[in-house]
Amino acid sequence: MRYLPHTRQDIDQMLAVTGHADLNQLFETIPDSAKTKTGLNLPDALSEWDLNAEMDKLASQNAACRSYTCLMGAGSYDHHIPAIVPYLVSRSEFMTAYTPYQPEVSQGTLQGIYEFQTMVTALLGMDIATASHYDGGTALAECALIALRKSKSANKIAVSNLIHPSHRHIMKTYLGPSGYEMVDIPADKNGLTDLVALKSMDDIAGVAVQSPNFFGNIEDLGSFKACADEKNCLLITSFTEALAHGLLKSPGRFGADLVAGEGQSLGMSKSFGGPGLGILAGTQSMMRNLPGRFVGKTVDSKGRRGYVLTLATREQHIRREKASSNICSNNGLNAMTAAIYMAAAGKNGIREIARLNHDKAVYLKNMLVGAGLQSVYSGAFFNEFVLKAPAGFANKRREIAEKYNLFAGVPLEPFYPDMADHYLFCATETVSRQAMDLLAKEVKA
């Protein structure tokens, strides 16, 4: 087997040194009662060529194997990925490198992550960003824990109903054993988080709002900040579509204390939902409360610029049971991916691409409303919006998928049971006018 270099001669020479008669004897310290009698009942090893055939077969059982038009978002977005991104990130030196605990031989990873941290703060208008987390939902759950632990008196956190349902589910799971409570801030009739409902809540450690929210609508973060200030609690904002920040006013501008979000849109493929990229940013005063890894700049013994993992005393390998989180790995290679994407797109590119997303989504909404679907909310949105379809649309939607490999929106009923026949549509820079016109034509028919 090509990954196992030992020859018969190697093994014999090595066993002579260890003093064992054969490979089985290496395990003589394991009691016989502990050894398995059943062996590994796995399929026979496949050659590289048979593996290719098997995996090709499996991959072709996903609709994504052929060209398809993706008008779905809901936390996973279809964006163009420049050729240089997978090219650079597949460099052995990035991909097969270990965590940069020995900084002298990890300056590539460390500078790359330092640049990622910096660009994230620029994108979000915040003071500091961590080296990344698993995904937006887990980063958000960590923010909730920060707010709750920081509060001297409150053990509740107010959470908008329009935060991605899976993110809220993760928060609930994380908070489960702690005794902390999540209080739901309902949606108002405009598809926005109900500020009036929030105003009546007391003794909360923090307020969590997503913008653009799950319905795609842009929230009035300024009002939420004012409300959080009045209640002397933290404002946590979140996002699922990182590219929105190429166009919208940043959470930092609104005075967010903590920002958590999903960075998959910054150069990562959808990959059936993972791995993505958890982004976590905070104000300067939050620095020692943030979990996860940080890269910091320093100098070497000759005074030359260098980078190291720093502030590790917050982390599990130092503080163990007193650590602020148990997190060990970040999503390092995906943070590098985001750094490369942000460097390539740059200031102007990210603005243009964000604007294109918005233009496409507005066009799609107009076309579909013209074709007979009902507009539900009238406020501003970024690249996602909700429409109501006539009963039976589910069948038509499936037929369109089977016929054109075009996926028209995400049904909302599984997430919000009282929203049957509502669909969340998304249009990014990848969707052609032609495809949108085709959908409108099919819908009208």
Binding site: M1, Y3, L4, P5, H6, D10, V17, L23, F27, I30, A34, L40, P43, A45, L51, N62, A63, I84, L88, E93, M95, E104, S106, Q107, G108, Y114, A129, Y134, T138, S166, H169, I170, S178, L248, K249, S269, F272, G273, G274, M287, K297, V299, D300, Y307, T310, T313, Q316, R320, K322, N326, I327, C328, N330, G332, L333, N334, I340, A343, K347, N348
Partner: protein, 484 residues
């Protein structure tokens, strides 16, 4: 013999923003075929201050950065507890297949059968390898898997009607163990390992009571030793109504030799980026599937993958589930790689990998035990631990030896972990390192110990060959500069 480390031309490279020039752009902007739609200026922000670079600027920048990195593809990482084995390139080909890479997680079961089938089959394979009836692939990393497992233990006790407050954690445990327990509100009770480096049943029995939710065990443990008393330890914990959490980070030592599920472990996490060859990526993404016994199945996170005849689907109707750990289904891209690896190795191949990993570690132990102090002179599993006792008289530490190894072309072993050993120097070669490369490593360590005696100053200022010398980590923490 010639050591691998040598000099070569690498490049200085500034930070991205220092290369930025007004007007440059490194991405292809798609043509617009729809009208411009204005957004309310009150909602529009300033353009984010990202650098402006041409495509070659970006390529050159990251290529130069990459050349400053050590990686498995260039040299050996004998890092104990990390299992830095070779990352097969065919796994990358499989993960990049359009059907997998472009798949949207909410396309619907009908249009995602390939992904669902892969997940289902991977669960089966991992269940077979570990000896458990059910597996979840949702946790995104080992520590995440630990938290998931502890949440299930917590939920199981809640369902029994009585929550417990403590958890037993051996002194050899990885830091993520007590940290994960804390997240569930459990207080960690430290259990000292015996003089042979393994847990003794009497010690466990003394600590175990009916207010203890269970124990977290790593087997083989972080000293590279098989916990011989594991079955008895599990019985002791079970007898008082507790559960056993298994940290499967060291699974690479025992595939096809033992199955944790047969030893009394109730819930076990695996690290796909260790045992199952997925790339470390400079710190992630990893993947930490969790395997469970029958009684814990109801508590698994949702959604779960179901197979009915030849059709696969996600189910969420699991009332006792702990909930959700990841926005979608976990790190699917990493699952594809691990799946490809297991299919490439087969059962015999995985067992062989474990045998050779253990052979390599024992060979190193025997070859270096007269050079470095070996606190536990007994057969090891896939890793062995030394200390710096033999060089202390020269005022040389484990850290100095580690830094000097870099000049020889090797990444250092794990240092200063596990904590039960003073100044630990923990070596795990893995099975993908050849005898030739291991012999070079052994020679390098011997040479360094000789240098410790004859020229200690040289070690104290090592390394010399990498792009930077030792960095001021104290200053970095005292006055943190986390962005440019």
């Amino acid at each position: 013999m010639t050591q691998p480390g040598t000099t070569g031309l690498i490049f200085n490279e500034p930070e991205l923003w220092d290369k930025s020039r007004e007007g440059r752009c490194g991405i292809s902007i798609p043509r617009s075929d729809v009208p411009r739609a204005d957004l309310d200026p009150a909602l529009t922000g300033d353009t984010p201050e990202l650098p402006q670079l041409s495509e070659l600027d970006v390529v050159r920048h990251f290529i130069r950065l990459s050349q400053w990195n050590f990686c498995i593809d260039s040299g050996m990482y004998p890092l104990g507890s990390c299992t830095m084995k070779y990352n097969p390139k065919t796994n990358e080909v499989q993960a990049a297949r359009k059907g997998f890479a472009a798949a949207h997680p909410l396309a619907g079961d009908q249009f995602s059968q390939g992904a669902l089938k892969l997940m289902y089959e991977l669960e089966q394979l991992l269940g077979e390898i570990t000896g458990f009836p059910a597996v979840t692939l949702q946790p995104a990393a080992g520590a995440h898997g630990e938290f998931t497992g502890m949440l299930m233990i917590h939920a199981w006790h809640a369902k029994q009607g009585r929550q417990r407050s403590k958890i037993l954690v051996p002194d050899t445990a990885h830091g993520t163990n007590p940290a994960s327990a804390s997240l569930c509100g459990y207080k960690s009770v430290n259990i000292k390992s015996g003089p042979k480096g393994v847990l003794e049943p009497a010690t466990v029995a003394e600590a175990m009571d009916e207010d203890t939710a269970g124990i977290m065990i790593t087997n083989p443990n972080t000293l590279g030793l098989f916990e011989d008393n594991i079955k008895e330890v599990c019985d002791i914990v079970h007898a008082k109504g507790g559960l056993v959490y298994g940290d499967g980070a060291n699974m690479n030592a025992v595939m096809g030799i033992i199955k944790p599920g047969e030893l009394g472990i109730d819930v076990l996490h695996l690290n796909l980026h260790k045992t199952f060859s997925t790339p470390h990526g400079g710190g992630g993404p990893g993947s930490g599937p969790v395997a469970v016994v029958k009684d814990l199945i109801p508590f698994l996170p949702v959604p779960r993958v179901q197979k009915e005849n030849d059709t696969y689907s996600f189910i969420t109707n699991c009332p006792d589930s702990i909930g959700r750990m990841h926005t979608f289904y976990g790190h699917f891209g990493i699952m594809v790689r691990a799946f490809a690896y297991i299919l490439s190795m087969g059962g015999d191949g995985l067992k062989r990998a474990s045998q050779l990993a253990v052979l390599n570690a024992n060979y190193i132990k025997e070859s270096l035990k007269t050079t470095l102090d070996l606190p536990y002179d007994r057969p090891c599993m896939h890793e062995c631990v030394f200390t710096d006792k033999s060089v202390q008289e020269y005022h040389i530490s484990t850290m100095d030896m580690a830094k000097r190894l870099l000049d020889y072309g090797f990444h250092p072993p794990t240092v200063y972990f596990p904590l039960v050993v003073d100044a630990a120097f923990m070596v795990e070669p893995t099975e993908t390192e050849s005898k030739d490369d291991i012999d070079q490593f052994i020679e390098a360590v011997k040479a360094i110990v000789k240098e410790a005696a004859s020229n200690p100053e040289k070690l104290k200022s090592a390394p010399y060959l990498p792009k930077v010398t030792r960095l001021d980590e104290v200053a970095a923490a005292r006055k943190p500069c986390l962005k440019g």
